[in-house]
Symmetry: C3
Subunit: 431 residues, 3 copies
């Protein structure tokens, strides 16, 4: 395992994104492998994968995409598109192609956005063989008739579908899943922001001296990577108690939380609570079966309690899936704030202790256990006792401490201290 370097600020997060930016990623091939290897220098991320052609639920693992270069040269010799400058120019997962074509022959292979004529779109063709270029619509319109030279040096070869995985064991085998997609090429918010924030979070949690819960970070090629992991880890999915899909964490927008399919899982309460605690605004949205990989985790055969925490949701900002989603579009402060938000969620989940009252019949005699004022009526420590009584009364396996705090109206810290004291006295145990 490589040496792990810390990521601690918006500036270092942004710098890591900048290093990842030019790598020509796709769902398979050297680009995604190089990306994961770089992330693995910062957090204990292990590269895992399956061979091309492996059946995966209703899918199968694609071949590797080996992309070297793509250039489109106009009849007058001008370079219309060069993926070395901006790798969105090549249709992602494009086959190789070399040839000379007329403009009319070329047109079906050109992708642009008529309504956003200055922008290069992000287009993919994973499951149908095709080649192509993505261009600003204005550039497409300006193309003169004549013979164009296409040189796409790319191939598909047998190899592996890979993903990155960091498993950080905790005291409990109950797992928190964080998943983010690692396949998008030269775009910063979608999804280098997710990659760097999740890498930083994994590094941070790995360094914690104690974790109550087990954390699993997945850095997966979108859709097929999540499918592959689910297909090969069905037993492990039973341990997942909470999960979030991370993406779009660098733009300046407010947080948006998309609920889990279940709609009332603990994560659906923990995320708003965490952000409220940070003083961050958060828009809560209902689950829909599209978006990022939460759609796979929430497929009815798994139905995992996985929500998604982003800033501005996909598709709702004009830079989305274009070259305008560049390094200037993501803000160091936003990245750092996103890391803080995820950290706060972790803290909520860590704090989300479900305890069990070991003396559930009658109140235990607090004084005997050194937990009670000796003179009745003395007001000192009264609140602390109330907190203990609440914790004892509600620790029946159904209530976590945060819920106890909400129901009692007592400060969460006080409730937590009460639980700690009761555990210390042998009256309470983690469930």
């Amino acid at each position: 395992m490589p040496t792990v370097l810390p990521l601690s600020s918006g500036a270092t997060l942004h710098a890591l994104a900048a290093r990842l930016y030019p790598i020509p990623r796709s769902i398979t091939g050297p680009g995604v492998q190089e990306t994961l290897a770089l992330l693995a220098t910062h957090a204990p991320i292990r590269i895992d994968g399956v061979a091309s052609g492996t059946p995966l639920l209703d899918w199968e693992a694609p071949r590797e995409w080996v992309f070297r270069s793509a250039r489109l040269v106009a009849p007058d010799g001008r370079v219309v598109a060069d993926a070395a400058l901006q790798n969105l120019h090549v249709l992602n997962f494009s086959t190789g192609f070399h040839g000379r074509l007329s403009l009319e022959e070329l047109r079906p292979h050109l992708f642009s956005l008529p309504d956003r004529p200055e922008r290069i779109p992000y287009r993919t063709s994973y499951y149908r063989e095709n080649w192509g270029f993505c261009l600003p619509h204005r550039a497409v319109e300006a193309l003169a008739p004549g013979e164009y030279e296409v040189a796409i040096d790319a191939e598909h070869r047998d190899g592996r579908l890979v993903w990155g995985e960091a498993l950080l064991p905790g005291e409990s085998a109950e797992e928190v899943l964080f998943s983010t997609h690692c396949c998008h090429p030269q775009m910063a918010n979608d999804n280098l922001s997710g990659l760097v924030v999740m890498t930083a979070l994994a590094a941070e949690l790995a360094a914690r001296p104690r974790r109550r819960l087990t954390y699993r970070f997945l850095f997966v090629p979108g859709t097929i990577g999540a499918i592959a992991w689910l297909a090969t880890h069905e037993a492990e999915t039973k341990q997942i108690r909470h999960g979030l899909v991370a993406a779009g964490l660098g733009d300046g927008g407010a947080f948006h939380y998309k609920k889990s399919r279940r709609g009332a899982a603990p994560i659906d309460f923990a995320v708003p609570r965490a952000l409220r605690r940070l003083g961050e605004a958060v828009e809560i949205e209902e689950f829909v079966p599209f978006g990022y990989d939460e759609r796979q985790y929430a497929s009815p055969g798994f139905d995992l309690p996985v929500g998604s925490l982003t800033r501005t949701p996909w598709g709702r900002y004009p830079e989305y899936h274009t070259d305008a989603d560049d390094l200037d579009f993501i803000l160091p402060a936003a990245l750092e704030g996103s890391l803080a938000a995820y950290r706060a969620v972790v803290d909520e989940l860590e704090a989300r202790q479900v305890y069990r009252n070991l003396h559930p019949k009658g109140e235990p005699r607090l004084g005997k256990h050194g937990l009670y004022r000796s003179i009745g009526g003395d007001e000192a420590g009264r609140e602390r006792e109330l907190a203990m009584l609440w914790v004892l009364n509600l620790s029946d396996g159904n209530h976590d401490l945060a819920t106890i705090a909400e129901r009692s109206g007592l400060a969460p810290e006080l409730v937590r201290e009460a639980a700690d004291a009761l555990v210390g006295a042998g009256l309470l145990a983690r469930d």
Copy 2:
């Protein structure tokens, strides 16, 4: 089985009601038998029944009421009441009686409505032997002293309690029950309207080339007929998934839906949905354990999910249970609209498909099944894909398509098409 004649318009529905109008019906006897026989010329209605005296739950089948004529003649020879002109004049199920009585002796046998002095009321005496006449209160008040001649030619004899039943098998053994009462004498809205609309609906459904669900129509003498059917078909009740009691479908009032006892059965959603789709206003009312035969179907030992769809509910229009409920009171357009409403409910229930995702773990790869755009980012077909994703995600046995449409905000047709496409691709199956 007689030839079945189609009923297709308000005019033909009204014409059938007019043919039924003068028949002197009661819960048993030639009147109800003639009524059912006439309905059976329009729909595949089979006459079924049990012998008089058969124990039926807490009841027993009554004897047949053979009614021939009833006349009340005043001392001056004037005919005060003649059931040949209006069969409400005779106390329904009256015993026979011939004799001459003083006005005072006669009075206990005269029934009228002091608060609606012009109207002849509908009165019955099924379970206590009695004879009598129903008259306008004004007529009762005008009766002069003297000797009256009573001639009621009626008798009770052993025979059968009968009802009509049309069973229309569908692809599924799951049943929809439509029940309407067939025992009321010369009144149009209550309940010739129910009889003709249900007969037309049965005819229409019988003619459909395909029925997903099985439909059972009951034309039953009120209360005792429903009791009799339940008593003799307890096993069949297990198949009833949805049901409606039909009556009062010819007046000009708005639809009223009385919920099933369960209050949240699928029928309780399907009826409002159907009427909304038709642009028809509908008042939704809670279940109460009186009204029509829904009270029997909803008795706690059966608790069938049977609501009731009427226009103005019983007892809330002044013509109710009087001779003013005549052929002018029911409107061809109202009858036709009621048939359309019930047809829309049927369509809702037919459309109420619960599917099961056959690839519930992860999303299936739509492209592999010919269901996906080949170039990511192409907006064509996007909504169709969203619909497929919603259908796949929620087809876990708990959600029908209409619910999926409501939850997704997508057009029901789109959701239905998505389901069809997924079934075609082998990804989805009817549950």
Copy 3:
């Protein structure tokens, strides 16, 4: 068993409180025994208990506190405190002590209320050996330096922890628990008011010719008495269907009902209903796991449906736990009104009849059972029939009569009469 004397009015309730007032009670010892013996002259209360040292859940039965006298004499010979005049003066459960101390040595043994300088506080030291005096703060401040004489004639000895219990069997083994604490010394509202009202209620219920439910009254030393009873009667707790903890029933304040831990148990509906019926205002409060012995009954290992009905809740009146909670503070009318309130709750619970329809399939034929109008349309008795239909329809084991009344909108008396009529006809039986 002693002769039982009736308690029938606010005056007699107050007079009994006055007899109990001077007895120096604590959780164990002659004071509480004398108290229970006096109550047992008014209601069939049996004294039960366990030996000192008996393990009781997380606790153990304390030794008996034998208290004889306590005097504190100032250097100038003035008697500063004499428990013979006001037994709050002695720290409750104080050890014996005789000696002469300087003021500085004495101070840690003096308890007072700086914010209520005229009042003698109530203080206890059950589980830590200590001696002390409770004084008005003004008196403490006025103490001159010098040598004080302390004479506390008290000891702890092996004996029994006792409680009073009245078990009044009903037709059903289902139990109602009424519990009140009997350990507080010379204070009237907290809790002589609870003792006298519960004693009167027990006497009254014992005298009833018929009880549907079984009633169990507990007169327990606070906390440890409830713990002791629970520890020794775990099997009996399974029969408890409803319960109330009674205290603070003599002040002039409005009723307060603190819900059971479950929050929606039948008792949580019965109490507000009963008070509404009496025209008494009642504040409804959520459960909290402190207060009186409801906290023991509601510990998660028992979770009994026990609420608490008081007037002004503990701690919310300035006289609370001081010598100002004297006989003038409790009002005969308040005591009598409290008895009426509890009686009304009993009546609610007695009336809370869950019946079962013995003919659940189809409606029974009311006429056959003499319960129906013979002529359909006769309006007389119509409401009575509706009530019978509601009772029949909802008597499926899930609905009590009060709920049926609320759901039907019919008067509770009418619903009750309907149930009685149906029982009389053999159509309905108590569940």
